[in-house]
């Protein structure tokens, strides 16, 4: 606790409304667990003027209203006083001293059903032939790993995950598709992921899930959270249709 928490932590401004707290460099579970621990802390602790926070691979950015941070009343504005960034930096140091970054949180496991191949996974055969594997091999490899959700970004509810086997890593398509349906499961280089909304993209599509990753009417609009573990499992076309009709089991 205390000082040892802070020695490898860097802080820098994102304009006059944000502070980024960086816990290291690189995509690594150890860095991720620290980011996650601090995010959990911020869920329970905030300060006057704090708007929200966002976590990424190695850092957390806290957005704040500098007016609220710096001035509690209109008469209080004094340019000799520290600017809001300096005040927020002190608050972050205090928070970092209080949070225990060493505890590894128990992750939620989210199981995602995927109908592989066919019209939903038009590139599955390409991925298989690229690696001289059978289609079933690719499915087996994709469903046998556990994937850590490092961050949510790019699109609402879109998970950046780690943990895909290099055996099925496949470069992006040379020309992106103009529209990829929501729920599509794809591979891009060493990454795998699911498209929560319809969007253009260059990923190799291997299947589709009937689960809604983005749920705008829910209090928590993203099915997945940073820190979750994903497991994919294979379902048939009929099971996919049953899911879509609301037959969620």
């Amino acid at each position: 606790m205390g000082e040892k928490n802070i020695e490898w932590i860097e802080m820098f401004p994102l304009g006059e409304t944000g502070i980024t707290v960086s816990f290291g460099k690189g995509i690594h579970p150890d860095i991720h667990y620290k980011v996650k621990a601090f995010a959990d802390y911020l869920e329970k602790h905030s300060f006057t003027g704090m708007i929200e926070y966002i976590s990424s691979f190695c850092s957390i950015t806290v957005y704040y209203d500098s007016l609220q941070v710096r001035t509690l009343s209109w008469d209080n504005i004094d340019t000799a006083k520290p600017i809001s960034y300096q005040i927020v930096e002190q608050i972050m140091l205090k928070f970092l001293n209080e949070v225990d970054l060493t505890v590894e949180k128990k992750a939620d496991i989210v199981r995602i059903p995927v109908c592989y191949g066919g019209e939903f996974g038009q590139d599955l055969e390409y991925v298989a032939s690229y690696h001289k594997l059978s289609v079933q091999n690719v499915i087996d490899i994709h469903t046998s790993s556990r994937y850590l959700v490092y961050m949510i970004g790019f699109a609402p509810g879109f998970p950046y995950v780690g943990g895909m086997s290099p055996q099925i890593a496949t470069p992006r398509r040379s020309s992106p598709r103009l529209s990829i349906p929501k729920g599509s499961v794809g591979i891009a280089g060493t990454q795998t992921g699911v498209y929560p909304i319809e969007t253009p993209g260059g990923w190799q599509l291997i299947g589709r899930t009937p689960l809604a990753l983005f749920q705008p009417d829910s209090e928590i609009p993203s099915l997945l959270q940073a820190g979750d573990i994903i497991e994919f499992y294979s379902i048939s076309y009929e099971e996919y249709q049953a899911y879509e009709k609301g037959g969620l089991s």
Binding site: F12, P13, L14, G15, E16, T17, G18, T20, S22, K25, G26, I27, A39, I51, E52, Y53, I54, S55, S56, F57, C58, S59, T61, Y63, S66, L67, R70, T71, W74, I77, T79, I83, S84, Y85, M151, I152, G153, F154, A155, P156, G157, F158, Y160, P196, I197, T199, F214, P216, D217, I220, P221, S222, Q225, A226
Partner: protein
């Protein structure tokens, strides 16, 4: 209110959707929040109320019921029955009047507030249109011909506003107040737009020539520009040592440099995270001028400190409070 002609791009926006960025949900909201807030103050609405954001070519709108509106931001030649509608002040309009927009004289985005506000369901706490996800605003999309927007009834405190306006019997088609809020400086189309910025976290990773060029050269706004971002064109800016960055938080006003060296300024609809080096961050007060700049114009960047950026922001907030007080004086 019925849309008779859509114009180029008109959407419903408020001050944005905050609290959900950790789920990948972008902020959206008005590109020029300053003009939005003044438009609302002028008609007695709460400052963050949703308004119409109108881009470059305005719509034709049929106003079906007696109402009070205010138009701020870009001058897109608003007209009623061939007569120019004054901006930056409340205007009373009688039922079955057609409000139309014409030539874009200054700026890029106009804000049309209506007393009482538009009846738009909030999604995740905001009425702003989130185009890519198809949520918020009017059916999650830009307005089209034939759309009908319900206007909510005015609140009790707005009635004296309207009564006072009705006393100035200027024309049959509309009645505007004699007082107005002065148009912000710098909104008028200028050949030399200066945008004040603070250094981005990766500024020092650029080679010294690029660091100098960023502040000395001008960049022009290309046509590949929208609410997500402005792509600029100018001298390419390069890193001292090319490095791969991991995605981290970016925000409205972040200036990123992708590998081709041409800056991208992220705007209201930008993604929550980005992976390109951040050379600078636009000072919050200058987001107004930026939002009112359009493709073809040239911009210069000028460096200020974080302290200066924050002081400018606080000064402008004080100015807005003064406007609020003065409006209250006129009404009461």
């Amino acid at each position: 209110m019925e849309v008779l002609k859509a114009g180029l791009f008109t959407s419903i926006q408020d001050l944005g959707r905050t609290g959900y960025q950790k789920y990948g949900v972008i902020v959206s909201g008005a590109m020029d929040a300053f003009s939005l807030r003044i438009a609302n103050l002028l008609v007695g609405n709460p400052e963050p109320e949703a308004v119409m954001e109108i881009t470059m070519i305005g719509p034709y709108l049929k106003i079906k019921k007696n109402t009070m509106i205010a138009i701020t931001g870009a001058d897109l030649s608003p007209m009623i029955a061939g007569e120019r509608v004054p901006m930056w002040r409340p205007v009373y309009i009688t039922q079955d009047t057609i409000l139309q927009f014409g030539a874009c004289k200054t700026g890029c985005r106009t804000y049309l507030a209506v007393a009482g506000g538009y009846n738009i369901k909030a999604v995740m706490g905001s009425q702003s249109t989130y185009l890519r996800a198809g949520i918020g605003g009017f059916s999650g999309r830009a307005l089209r011909k034939g759309d009908v927007l319900q206007v909510l009834p005015v609140k009790d405190h707005q009635r004296p506003f309207i009564k006072k306006l009705q006393k100035n019997n200027q024309t049959k088609n509309f009645i505007s107040s004699l007082w107005y809020v002065p148009e912000p400086l710098g909104l008028a189309s200028s050949k030399n737009i200066v945008i004040r910025v603070t250094r981005g976290n990766e500024f020092s990773l650029f080679d010294t020539v690029s660091q100098k060029k960023f502040f000395e050269k001008s960049f022009h706004i290309t046509t590949q520009s929208d609410r997500m971002g402005y792509r600029l064109a100018g001298d390419a800016l390069t890193l001292e040592n090319p490095t791969e960055m991991l995605s981290e938080a970016v925000t409205f006003g972040t200036i990123q440099i992708p590998p081709d060296g041409q800056p991208i300024i992220l705007l209201a609809d930008c993604q929550t995270t980005g992976g390109y080096p951040k050379i600078a961050q636009v000072a919050r007060v200058d987001l107004t001028i930026l939002a009112q700049s359009k493709p073809g114009q040239r911009i210069h960047f000028s460096e200020i400190s974080l302290q200066e950026a924050e002081d400018l922001y606080i000064k402008r907030e004080i100015y807005l409070q003064e406007i609020k007080r003065n409006i209250a004086l006129y009404v009461n």
